[in-house]
């Protein structure tokens, strides 16, 4: 393979990784407060459709990303957080429902925009000095701004969770909600807030796909990215900084298919597209029991104040 093609692919893979990073960060903070939202795919679809419509109407990609974020958060609050946390319905079933509702609603409301091109584009932002580093400069330091925002977001989540008192309390909610409640932490309120914020990040991830990555909308656009994000959180052991390299690795795996086609490799394209999914399964197995020790201890159990 020529160096040029490898280089271009590595640049492209960064952008492919950005939606995964946002969505996986959203799921990570959701799971850190002890709730598992498996409807990421649906939330991303809604964010992608809403963000795209807003971007087309306003001719401003930034507005699209903002709207995708807001709609993702609201959608998660109404259709996931309230049913699960307030009405104590099954996380798994409601997660599936969110997935179906998100796919259906985005297809229905977005269908009149399916043929519409997005005129506005987010320009590449080259960071001075760092961008001039040969080899990696234009891979890591010459990308559109949502990429930098995603990296900063991962660092911010890491800092919040590991270096602040609030973050310690949040992790407490996910590990032992009863003890947290006893020590005065408003468990339910924080779960509602952070599950919804997580949904907002998933919506942003979806909007990045439609507004930045593909610049068009069609139903089924998210194509399993939400599920990959779910697996990535387990993959990195619930550590936000781990997501930085893990999402990039998956970005590379996801672009492999196109590289193979361009290079006319002997391996057929469908086979080349398999590694991301196989890698996820393989890594979950390798992590195995050890992986579970890293998980928030009370993940998926519902906490009831004083038995009420």
């Amino acid at each position: 393979m020529s160096w040029d093609l490898a280089h271009v692919s590595l640049i492209g893979a960064v952008l492919v990784a950005v939606p995964l990073l946002y969505a996986a960060l959203g799921e990570l903070i959701t799971e850190r407060v002890g709730v598992m939202n498996i409807g990421i795919e649906g939330v991303m679809s809604v964010g992608a459709a809403a963000g795209f419509i807003a971007a087309v109407k306003s001719h401003d990609p930034a507005v699209g990303l903002l709207v995708g974020t807001a709609v993702g958060g609201l959608f998660t609050l109404v259709f996931f957080a309230l049913p699960v946390l307030v009405f104590r319905t099954s996380e798994i079933l409601v997660g599936f429902a969110v997935w179906f509702i998100g796919l259906g609603a985005s297809a229905q409301f977005g269908q009149s925009y399916a043929q519409e091109p997005l005129k506005a584009e987010i320009p590449t932002l080259k960071i001075p000095l760092l961008g001039a580093i040969p080899g990696i400069g234009d891979i890591l330091f010459a990308q559109p701004w949502p990429y930098y925002a995603a990296v900063l977001m991962a660092v911010a989540v890491w800092f919040l969770l590991t270096h602040t008192a609030h973050g310690l309390n949040l992790r407490g909610v996910g590990d032992d909600p009863a003890a947290s409640y006893g020590s005065g932490v408003p468990v339910l309120r924080w779960q509602l807030v952070y599950v919804s914020l997580g949904g907002a990040l998933m919506g942003l991830g979806g909007a990045v796909v439609s507004v930045v990555l593909t610049q068009h909308w069609q139903s089924g656009l998210i194509a399993g990215r939400g599920w990959i994000a779910l697996a990535l959180v387990i993959f990195v052991g619930w550590r936000p900084l781990g997501l930085l390299w893990a999402t990039y690795l998956f970005g590379i795996l996801l672009t492999l298919e196109h590289v193979g086609q361009a290079e006319d490799w002997a391996i057929p394209a469908p086979i080349l597209a398999m590694p991301p999914y196989l890698a996820t399964v393989a890594i979950l197995i390798v992590r195995g029991r050890r992986g579970h020790r890293l998980a928030p201890a009370a993940l998926g159990t519902s906490f009831l104040r004083g038995g009420r």
């Binding site: 498996i38 649906g42 259709f79 049913p83 009405f87 104590r88 319905t89 099954s90 798994i92 079933l93 409601v94 599936f96 429902a97 969110v98 997935w99 179906f100 509702i101 998100g102 796919l103 259906g104 609603a105 297809a107 229905q108 269908q111 005065g184 408003p186 339910l188 309120r189 139903s219 089924g220 399993g224 599920w227 779910l230 697996a231 387990i234 057929p268 469908p270 086979i271 597209a273 398999m274 999914y277 196989l278 996820t280 399964v281 979950l284 197995i285 992590r287 195995g288 029991r289 992986g291 579970h292 519902s302 009831l304 038995g307 009420r308």
Partner: protein, 367 residues
Amino acid sequence: MSTPVRSKPKLRLVLHDPAATGSLLGRVVAVAIGIALGAAFLALQPNVGSSLFSASWSSTLGSALGISQLTQLATPLILAGCAVAVAARVGLWNIGVDGQLILGAWAATAVGFYAPDAIPGAPLVVLMMLAALLGGALWMVVPALAYAYARVNVVVTTLMLNFVAYLWLAYWITGPWSDPSYASLGLSSQPVPDRASLPHFTVGSIEIGVAFLVAVAVAVLLWAVFRFTHHGFRTAMAGADEQVASYGGVNVGRLHLQALLASGAIGGLVGVIVELDRVHRFSSSLSDNTGYLGIVVAALAAHSFAGATLMGFLIAILSATGGALSISGVSSSVVLLLIGILLLMGAFADVPARYRLLRAGAEEPQE
């Protein structure tokens, strides 16, 4: 929430048993509310309005053709619901039925292609079904073992393997088994031999496929196994309380493994049934989100096999309605929205059973 002082009302709602399962009535009411909400949403869409009910009725229960089509649509849904329910009874969600049905159909198609011409129709069909059962079960081996030995989340592993299966299908129908002459109708393999098909017969003016009878037979068989055998009893025990079951001498790990493999095998059957019934090719049209709809069927049916048969029909009615409405400009994916609302309502079905109304000052009764 954080305020410790609160005024006490005369009556208060107390969460009594957070794990309680509601009555059948609650479930029926939930489904009815879900359908009403979905219908209201659809009726509000432009160009639909009052034509909704006539379109739905005439394309489903209102005509002989509609009923014939319903049995055909319900067939894979019933099977997929049964597949999911078998695993759900031990508390595991197999969301990989789509993958298992593809691998099952792949194995069956291979048998169809490479079996000697001397084998007549009926044995060939049986062989293909056996191959499908095996293919589906084999596709489940890795998730099942990973769960049994390392507690790897079955939801994620089975789902990831779905994506691999879609690509596996794409490889075979664009590569070794491709049929260029059929490309206009979507990618498919070459057809399996004519004799590899399940016949249809007519009752009055309604056409029913043998495939449908197979699906119902599988549901009845599963019901009997879980109702009358020791295996069914052990499963019920483990599903209710793993620790109690373990003390009672049940090997829960093995039970999980068996349930997952059986679920995969039944999932494998879903695709070959559709292939033998109407598609006759290895094709992406073998699955129409069937595996995912199977989750809805099983969840709404509360893992009952009789319920799965009923819910299979209900989802078939929704699908047919969605198909009929797509003429009036509604996205064909809107069916997913309706099904999502239905599932959400199904999740709410158990909520009322978990609360008790208590007088102020009264202690919660102990069990």
